[in-house]
């Protein structure tokens, strides 16, 4: 057991893609330390689902949030203390079902938090119902004859909502995933990493993705280009899809100058005209 792993016993299924994400983030944390981002300043939040269990296993400070709300919790942390780097582990049910509004608005704000999407296209922890990212026809316990509608595309939606960094990784390609994580965390502004994460128990997509994943040569240089990349059906591009230097969300009240009790009271007295 390394020093980034807690004593919690790991209950992911053998072969689950989540192990890859766990390994990659540990490697990323170590790389970031080399780059001056100490693990004390790296705060995680997590949604509820199999993905969220990373909260118990990873020895970082953080907040195990509600199903669907980890992106809001993350933003609240960042807003209150912009000196922290905030990373958010989310499931596709949690982030694109229950709490999709928060993801869209975090991207719109371009707030400097990073979201890692455990994209297994299924509700894992609740035993395999269709998720918003499940293929049409997915047979789960709530759709025994197959789901009716096509999946949302996370990259397209994040792009159109205003995310300034978008990447896609695959739990079977760890060095690339680690790399993406480091880049996403270093990015100033909202960053989103779509991580293909097969669920061996309810949606084993290793065989589906293995032949169609493909590394991108270079990131798209415009949103249009990135959108086109996202529309590809034949291949699933991996790597940084888009990255731009748009101004991130900023506090209106500079945090550096957090006011003393005395200063505050003085100002309130003057507001009260007393």
């Amino acid at each position: 057991m390394d020093d980034l792993t807690t004593y919690a016993s790991n209950t992911w299924c053998v072969g689950c893609g989540d192990f890859g994400i766990f390994q990659a983030i540990k490697d990323a944390v170590k790389r970031l330390e080399g780059l001056g981002i100490g693990r004390d300043r790296l705060i995680m939040t997590a949604g509820i689902g199999c993905h969220g269990k990373i909260f118990d296993y990873l020895a970082l400070s953080g907040f195990y949030s509600l199903h669907g709300r980890a992106v809001s919790t993350a933003q609240g942390i960042k807003i209150a203390n912009p000196d922290l780097s905030v990373i958010c582990f989310e499931g596709d049910g949690s982030a694109f079902g229950e709490g999709i509004e928060h993801l869209i608005f975090a991207a719109k704000r371009n707030i400097d938090v990073t979201v890692f999407l455990h994209h297994n296209s299924v509700y894992g922890l609740t035993t395999g119902q269709a998720s918003p990212l499940s293929e049409k026809g997915f047979r789960g316990r709530s759709t025994p004859r197959g789901s009716q509608d096509p999946p949302l595309d996370p990259v397209t939606l994040m792009l159109d909502s205003g995310a300034s960094f978008i990447g896609r990784g695959y739990t079977a390609k760890l060095p690339q995933l680690t790399d993406l994580m480091v880049k996403a965390i270093l990015h100033k502004g909202f960053s989103f990493v779509d991580i293909i994460q097969p669920c061996v128990s309810f949606n084993n997509t290793y065989t589906k993705y293995a032949p169609i994943v493909e590394d991108l040569d270079r990131p798209a240089s415009t949103r249009e280009e990135a959108w086109m990349i996202a529309q590809r059906k034949d291949k699933v591009p991996l790597g940084v899809i888009y990255g731009s230097k748009e101004a991130p969300w900023e506090r209106q009240v500079p945090k550096g100058g957090q006011m003393s009790k005395e200063e505050r009271h003085k100002r309130i007295r003057s507001l009260l005209g007393a």
Partner: protein, 550 residues
Amino acid sequence: MTSDPFTFLVGGKAGEGVKSAAGSAADLFSEMGRHVFQMDDYQSLIRGGHNFSMVSSDIEPIWSHHSKADLIVCLDQKSYDLHKEHVSDRGLVVLNEGAVEGEGAFVPLIKEARKYPKPELRLGLGAFTVLCAVMGMPEDDLKRILEREYPKDREVNLAYGLSIYHATNESVGQRFDPRPGTFKGSRILTGNEAIALGAASAGLDVYYAYPMTPSSSILHYLAAHDRDLGVEVVHAESEIAVINMAIGSTYVGARAMVGTSGGGFALMDEAISLAGMVESPILSILSSRPGPSTGVPTYTAQADLDFALGRGFGEFPQIVASPGSVEEAFYLASEMLDLVWRFQTPGIILTEKHLSESAMNVKLDVERASYPQPLMHTSGEYKRYSLTDNGISPLLFPPSPQMIKWNSYEHDEAGITTEDAGTIEKMADKRLAKEKALIRQMIGMRTVNTFGGGPVIMTYGSTTMSVMEALRISGIEAKVIQPVYLRPFPVWEMKAYMKESPVVVEQSCSGMFARLLREKAGITASHVIRRYDGRPFDPKELSERLKEMI
């Protein structure tokens, strides 16, 4: 010092400046050293419809507007039709000449306004000028005051104001002479502003909200003064985002607050339970309007009492308190912020449109506000949920070399998820211990206000103001008991009244507050005076009903 009440009513369409005319009147009376109460009655629309505002003032402390006015200025016909009966015996009705038919003094409010662009927007100024004139204000004072109250478009406003001033002098002349009082150096604040300032005094760092009447003015006020007050203000995408962001902010030690009304607060319910589990000190303002559901957005009610008392699923301590005046709203906001940080659990300030949006002039002592100083971890290994006698675990905020884990699942002391039977039980006991510690703390605090002596009247929240004013103006002797804290309910104080059969006054249809008194403290009301048509009590009518009963 005898009483010298004076009430001004101005009515017209939304967009005609009714509210700001009343605001100027309130300023004027306050400057005279008088006590002031302003109540705005408006509809859920932006232009048109019927709005009216009332400003009552006296040289003694005053707790409510009165519904009989000494001066009524009717900007439109509806105002006349609806309010012509509301004139006091000595009162005067002024009609907008050419626009309103009726009995009273005609003043060419719109006629004169038509000489300038956007005539409708100036009517409020005209109404205020009528007030100044009938009070015999010298022309120079009027000019000074108009310049201060209506600084935009100065020239035109002054010219228009003077024309109304002269017209009023001609047709009515001085009619009233309200006496100056001794209450100098006060400040006019709405309940919402007082809450905002009280929380700011207690070190509020972040305010999150999604607009919802009648809570929105907290958002507007703090947004307008964010840098002055050092409070970051975020209008997020929904109430669910609001509360989850706010709870996230408390994780790093920021004093966070949210504000909304019933619908928005209902949406926050899952996160209130989250706060109970992670032990987040989050303070919420719940400002009520008549429900259920969308209800009647711009009116008042006290039908969210059960709702405020029954938030979240599972068991965890909660604190609910409701202020009875603008002044109390200020101190209570700071005290509640202190309490939630002390006990690391969610708290609610329950108030109503009638207090949130009504204004009083008050003198506040910022030094008397509480300032949270939560229990901090000092040394050794840190465990977020360390088990202690009183259930309170010390806090530590990132960045820290120690691991700080807040967890919505049941957890062990370090904050790691557990399904272990023994740990589940211990953590439930820990949260119950905090509740007991909270009650011990509250026993040493002022949790119930009592005023006067005589037969007992029980009330709470903004209705306290109506009751106090009813007693004042009628001279009824009675003892008013107002529990400020509603959860934990201060039975230790209230049980002294178990033998009483008080008259209960509240703004709910089913008598929620009377039921609370019965269920929690065994107090059975002799009578329950209820009003639930969206309007606050009129002190005069209330005093007559009280007279029959005590």
